[in-house]
């Protein structure tokens, strides 16, 4: 089985095909051989009967034995010999048997006439019981013979059987014909097999050629060459379908790779700005600004900010990668009103002196990770605070939808245009909006938030109008 597994697909299919072909051709050959043999035998026996029948009838009439209910029905050596002699020829010999099974007369006189086989008792009884032609094969001196037993009766269908004639004929001529026929059959089978196996292997090779192409492409791709597509050639069979879905997979892989690459480039750029600030500040300090306490203080503060920005960036990058695995999301039932009562204090700290309203909605129990939910709200809240004037309020509210709850964070800030909205969830994308209060973000907040919402099987959407404000709505599943 191991060797079988190691064979190529072409070899395996080819072998299976060859075995099947050999089996079926040999079966057909054997059947046809047997069939012809049967045909010859039945032909021979009907020939024998046709020869014997008129001779027996004449013999019955000649010896006054053809009368019905003849009480003198009797076989004598004399009349029996006449019959046996009449029925014997070059290939055929007849013997006449009494009811007891004794040989009364044997037709063989000349040496070239064949020997008669010894009567078989079983067939003899069948003939005696009235069966008209008992035919069977036997052997005399190693030569095949066909034996026919004919019961002797005064008239057809009479039950008075007074003896049995055994006619036997040599089958050597049939054997000869059959042997020639068999040889022809064997050579025919051989030719069919060779042709069949050769064309079979060729056909399998042709069908598998495209598979080979697919394999070559796979090798190329595994080396990182994604532009190597599999040729499809408008095929609709399994290989065509395979190639098509393979190409679709490639396209998807390529896109994923590209976006991954874009993400890495963006992340590196985003790291580069604070690093440039750090390096430049350090260089300026080392070049002599360290001797000036005010420059030292200013640059150190700047560097501290940059380091914090780097840490924040790294944290968010880690957060994004952690959300990729659902095992990091620990959902539990949360009563929303209780959650917000607790959240209010933290949110107020974030808002500073700004007006923040949490409008209590209906009593609902959601299934969520409380830490992630808190982070989602913090992210949305700090965005709202960052891009809206200090005197305007930020409002959090929720409402019940079928099977889920929708939480909204709205501000009355500068809003976004459609162009910005269409890119807003892309990692590192930052709109043109000016920061009203707080630091400039990194551009990961919303894509992180989206991932967190999606980790809860929720959805997030943003409605915004430039100059009027922005409302971010996200859904959470009910418990």
């Amino acid at each position: 089985m191991r060797v079988w597994d190691r064979l190529s697909l072409q070899a395996r299919l080819g072998l299976l095909y060859a075995v099947l072909l050999i089996f079926s051709v040999v079966l057909v050959g054997c059947y046809s051989y047997w069939n012809i043999w049967q045909l010859f035998i039945s032909n021979k026996s009907s020939h024998l009967r046709a020869q014997a029948k008129p001779i027996i009838e004449h013999w019955l009439i000649d010896n006054d034995l053809a009368k019905p209910d003849n009480p003198h029905l009797k076989l004598t050596h004399q009349n029996a010999f006449i019959l046996a002699r009449d029925l014997t020829s070059r290939n055929t010999v007849a013997i006449v048997l009494s009811r007891k099974g004794d040989i009364i007369a044997n037709g063989k006189r000349l040496p070239e006439e064949p020997e008669a086989p010894i009567p078989d008792k079983q067939y003899f009884r069948r003939a005696l019981s009235g069966e008209n032609e008992v035919t069977y094969r036997s052997q005399v001196n190693g030569k095949p013979v066909l034996v026919m037993l004919i019961p002797l009766r005064p008239q057809p269908a009479s039950s008075q059987i007074f003896g049995v004639i055994q006619i036997s004929t040599l089958l050597t001529d049939i054997k000869e014909i059959l042997f020639r026929h068999g040889a022809m059959l064997v050579s025919l089978v051989a030719i069919i097999l060779i042709l069949g196996i050769v064309t079979g292997f060729w056909l399998i090779g042709v069908s598998l050629k495209d598979l080979q192409g697919l394999l070559t492409s796979c090798h190329q791709i595994s080396k990182g060459n994604f532009s190597q597509w599999v040729p499809v050639k408008n095929r609709r069979d399994e290989i065509g379908q395979l190639a098509t879905s393979f190409n679709q997979m490639l396209e998807k892989l390529e896109a994923t790779f590209a976006s991954q690459q874009r993400f890495v480039v963006n992340a590196a750029h985003e790291l580069m700005t604070p690093l440039t600030g750090l390096r430049g500040s350090l260089e300026v300090l080392l070049r002599g600004a360290q001797d000036d306490p005010s420059a030292m203080a200013r640059l150190s503060k700047g560097m501290y900010k940059e380091v914090n920005r780097l840490i924040r960036l790294c944290e968010q990058l880690l957060g994004l990668s952690q959300l990729e695995s659902s095992s990091n999301v620990h959902k539990q039932p949360i009563i929303l009103s209780d959650f917000f009562n607790e959240f209010k204090a933290d949110a107020q700290v974030l808002a500073g002196g700004r007006s923040l309203a949490i409008q209590q909605g209906p009593y609902v129990k959601v299934s969520a990770d409380p830490d992630l939910l808190k982070q989602i709200l913090f992210n949305l809240l700090s965005n709202a605070l960052r891009y809206s004037p200090t005197e305007t309020p930020v409002v959090i509210r929720w409402k019940l939808l079928p099977k889920q709850v929708e939480i909204q964070v709205s501000d009355q800030g500068q809003g976004m245009d459609a162009e910005t909205l269409s890119h807003i969830f892309e990692p590192f994308y930052q709109g043109k909006a000016t920061v009203v209060s707080g630091d400039k973000g990194i551009g990961l907040g919303l894509s992180l938030t989206k991932s967190m919402v999606e980790a809860h099987e929720g959805t997030i959407r943003i409605e915004s109008e430039p100059g009027k404000g922005t409302t971010v709505s996200f859904t959470l599943p009910l418990e």
Binding site: T273, R279, S281, E283, V284, R287, D291, G302, E306
Partner: protein, 235 residues
């Protein structure tokens, strides 16, 4: 290239990142430039109309209009002021875009400050804002920056690279007091780990080779470091 205090070279920095702006301004001021900074493109263009500058350091990513656009508008006004663009992106297309829009040179962010200074000097030299003469001169001391030859009163002096670096630093910034730490960083590199005493050794060698006797050209400032006082300016 000692310059008149009233005739400092003026640089405009247009950059929105506060930390980068801060170190650029501080560092450039220490190098003797007069620096003005703006955090947005339009504000930068306004500043250009009010004052004349000798050079602009321009960030590509600005909150209102991008650096390329700022560059184009400056050139449209017919100004040929040298512009040095700062970009994060390393792609060639971005560099080409920068140079096509009229910038003279570009630096990718994470640039070293030394490189920035060298590019600024090169740009200024090309526009004739500073002398093309690659020699520093003070108190009969001539320092040739190209051949790295030094002479005093016509007599040739052989200096080690460290001594040459010290003398060049002093002559570029007369009267400025350098701490030993700063001298160490500037001459031996930021990653030199040894103590600052080595500077005293090098200064002593330098003084001997220059034949510097009291009142000295290179003076020890007690508890601080050293400063260079050429004779014609007096004490």
């Amino acid at each position: 290239m000692s310059m008149d205090k009233n005739n400092k070279i003026k640089i405009l920095v247009i950059e929105d990142d506060p930390v980068i702006t801060d170190f650029l301004c501080t560092g450039l001021k220490y190098e003797g430039y007069e620096v003005t900074s703006r955090t947005a493109g339009k504000a930068g263009l306004d500043a250009l109309q009010q004052t004349t500058f000798d050079l602009i350091i321009l960030d590509v990513m600005l909150p209102d209009i991008d650096g390329f656009e700022v560059c184009r508008r400056i050139r449209d006004r017919g100004s040929d002021i040298p512009i040095l663009i700062l970009t994060v992106k390393k792609e060639i297309s971005d560099r080409v875009k920068g140079l096509d829009s009229g910038a003279d040179d570009y630096l990718t962010k994470h640039f070293s400050f030394d490189e920035l200074l060298a590019r600024i000097r090169a740009l200024l030299r090309r526009r004739g804002k500073i002398s093309k003469n690659r020699k520093l001169q003070a108190d009969a001391i001539v320092l040739n920056l190209e051949t790295r030859e030094v002479s005093r009163k016509g007599k040739r002096i052989d200096l080690t690279p460290t001594e040459f670096g010290l003398l060049e630093l002093f002559m570029r910034h007369p009267h400025r007091v350098f701490t030993r730490e700063t001298l160490l960083n500037r001459v031996l590199g930021y990653d030199y780990d040894g103590g600052t005493n080595i500077i005293d050794v090098h200064i002593s060698h330098l003084r001997n080779k220059l034949g510097d006797r009291p009142p000295r050209l290179i003076r020890t400032i007690y508890a601080v470091g050293y400063a260079f006082y050429p004779e014609e300016t007096g004490t």
